[in-house]
């Protein structure tokens, strides 16, 4: 009876693991890198790239396709740059949550696509110039706590809510942080220059760089910097098991 129980548990674990793999694989599905573009100026090259991979969801004229993808006219260079350099686009299929992945396009190809799309409609936020060193870290902490930690967690370790996963910011460059603030990608809110100016963005980027990506762990091993859950696990699995073993040495077993 015990063997059957263990077998069932083992099968359940294997099933769960397979499911996770499948889910991850689906998200991480990438198209293979497009071939070298034909000659011509940046906008022409961009149009060719666009037609190859993006038009199926965003429309051949970049005006969007109902229930598949939004219009890309007037979204701004910051938006195009953000989604492409973080690999969030192209999506393997419409309707799933864009997540950070290995970028499909090279820097030159991204510039070409930006040239093409901003040529169609030049509105929208430009790629911001972010300089973390010019930021004030105390201001950054305040702003990040007020505007960002509700989703991204207080030291940028990421968080969740119904319908969304707010990713950890370990891999975010200062430019990407600035772009995300201006663009409000996917379900993220948007903050314009009048709400958070360039100095505010520099400060937030500095906070993410210095605190989020290198959490100040004066107390020792940070165990993930996400608070009481790993702490409880250490209390049970480290302290508890260590002391149970010591108790077995000190005491006797039932004879």
């Amino acid at each position: 009876m015990r063997h059957r129980l263990m077998l069932t548990v083992a099968l359940a674990c294997a099933g769960l693991a397979l499911w996770t793999f499948a889910a991850q694989a689906q998200q991480g599905e990438q198209q293979h890198r497009p071939a070298a573009p034909p000659a011509g100026d940046a906008a022409t090259r961009g149009q060719a790239l666009f037609a190859e991979s993006c038009a199926s969801c965003h429309g051949t004229d970049a005006r969007g396709v109902a229930s598949r993808g939004p219009s890309l006219r007037g979204v701004g260079a910051a938006s195009i740059d953000f989604y492409l350099r973080t690999g969030r686009m192209p999506l393997s299929r419409p309707g799933i949550e864009p997540q950070r992945a290995k970028p499909v396009y090279s820097r030159a190809q991204i510039d070409d696509l930006i040239a093409y799309l901003t040529g169609l409609d030049g509105r929208g936020p430009a790629i911001p110039r972010v300089n973390p060193a010019a930021g004030d870290i105390e201001l950054g902490r305040q702003l990040f706590t007020d505007s960002c930690s509700g989703c991204h967690q207080i030291v940028a370790q990421g968080g969740i809510a119904p319908g969304l996963v707010a990713p950890p910011l370990d891999n975010s460059t200062p430019t990407e942080i600035g772009e995300a603030i201006r663009v409000g990608p996917y379900l993220m809110p948007r903050f314009g220059e009048r709400q958070l100016d360039a100095h505010d963005v520099d400060s937030i980027a500095r906070y993410v760089n210095e605190v989020g990506q290198h959490p100040p762990n004066a107390g020792g091993w940070g165990i993930g910097n996400v608070g009481p859950i790993p702490e409880g696990m250490v209390a049970w699995l480290l302290a508890g098991t260590a002391l149970l073993l010591v108790a077995r040495v000190i005491g006797e077993r039932a004879s």
Partner: protein, 325 residues
């Protein structure tokens, strides 16, 4: 399954309480468990010395480091290491060095019925020769109740009346300011933005003060008829204190492209109560029992956001008698 049902019925009918059952018979071995082993092996005695010396060294290192204001990890490692070595020394002493003995002691268990009766008689002696027992007991009961009330009464001095829970500083015409007391201008907020705002001049820490202002597209709004004028240019303001358990509603999700995604909503990070901002903060997911109170907004001549009136309902978690907003 039938056994489970039987257990539940037994419980319900309290069967078995009155049945006198005997405990299972004790094993019939006649083994004598006592033993006495003295004499420590040489290795144990030497090991004990080494452990104690190392322990002393660790504690000395800790003391030195503390005087030098050393770093937490080194302090913990030396003090903890010293304690671990001390533990090993004590356990070794108890298990191997000191004589090992197993002894037997009888339990003094059974009470003497005569002694119990004697105690009861001694306690009862207070009433010897007393005739009006019931009267005295009744009067003592009244005195006791009075004493309890008197002991509990000072507690009421500790706080103000519960009516204060319904107050909030928002009135018609109060200007919304941010955390630095700068007025919030309508043009500061893009579609999809959110900001925390307070009434100008009020205590920010008061629960009724913080509101969260968000901006959606005006054509997306689905407010009830009475609130049509509460959201000028798509700007909405709701109390930031969650109506479930009082946390700050600090999550705002606004979709870039709604098909295949989630509608605009404010969410609370504590228990994930989610409020649909276009429909007057109606609860869509989670344990909140009522929507967030809404603050009517207006835009004045300088494009500042001002309140158009008080909040639409009680702020924060409900309590007995709260009005549903």
């Amino acid at each position: 399954m039938s056994r489970l049902l039987r257990m539940l019925t037994d419980l319900a009918l309290a069967r078995g309480v009155l049945r006198a059952r005997h405990p299972p018979p004790e094993p019939e071995d006649h083994a004598d468990p006592t033993r006495y082993d003295a004499g420590a092996p040489a290795w144990a005695e030497l090991a004990l010395v080494v452990l104690l010396l190392l322990c002393g060294a660790c504690f000395a290192a800790f003391a030195v480091l503390l005087a030098l204001a050393g770093d937490t990890q080194l302090l913990g490692a030396t003090a903890g290491g010293g304690l671990a070595l001390l533990a090993a020394a004590l356990v070794l002493a108890g298990l191997r060095v000191a004589p090992r003995e197993t002894a037997v002691e009888p339990r003094e268990d059974a009470p003497e019925p005569e002694e119990t009766a004697e105690d009861e008689r001694l306690l009862g002696a207070v009433a010897d020769g007393v005739s009006r027992r019931r009267l005295i007991l009744g009067a003592a009961g009244i005195a006791g109740t009075g004493a309890i009330l008197a002991a509990a009464a000072p507690v009421t001095a500790l706080g103000p009346s519960a009516r204060v829970l319904d107050e909030s500083p928002w009135r018609r015409g109060v200007v919304l300011v941010d955390e630095e007391d700068a007025p919030v201008l309508a043009d500061d907020l893009e579609v999809g933005a959110f900001i925390t705002a307070f009434p100008r001049g009020a205590d920010k820490r008061e629960l009724g003060s913080p509101v969260v202002v968000v901006r959606v597209r005006p054509d997306e709004l689905e407010l009830p008829a009475a609130r049509r004028t509460w959201a000028p240019e798509g700007l909405l303001a709701y109390s930031k204190i969650c109506t479930h358990a009082g946390c700050a509603v600090s999550l705002f999700r606004y979709p870039t492209y709604e098909p295949g995604s989630s509608p605009p909503a404010l969410a609370c990070p504590c228990h994930y109560s989610t409020f649909d901002v276009r429909r007057a903060a109606a609860v869509v997911v989670g344990p909140a029992g009522r929507p967030l109170p809404q603050l009517p907004l207006a835009i004045d001549a300088q494009r500042q956001l001002v309140a158009g009136g008080p909040l639409s309902g009680s702020v924060g978690p409900a309590w007995w008698g709260t009005r549903r907003s």
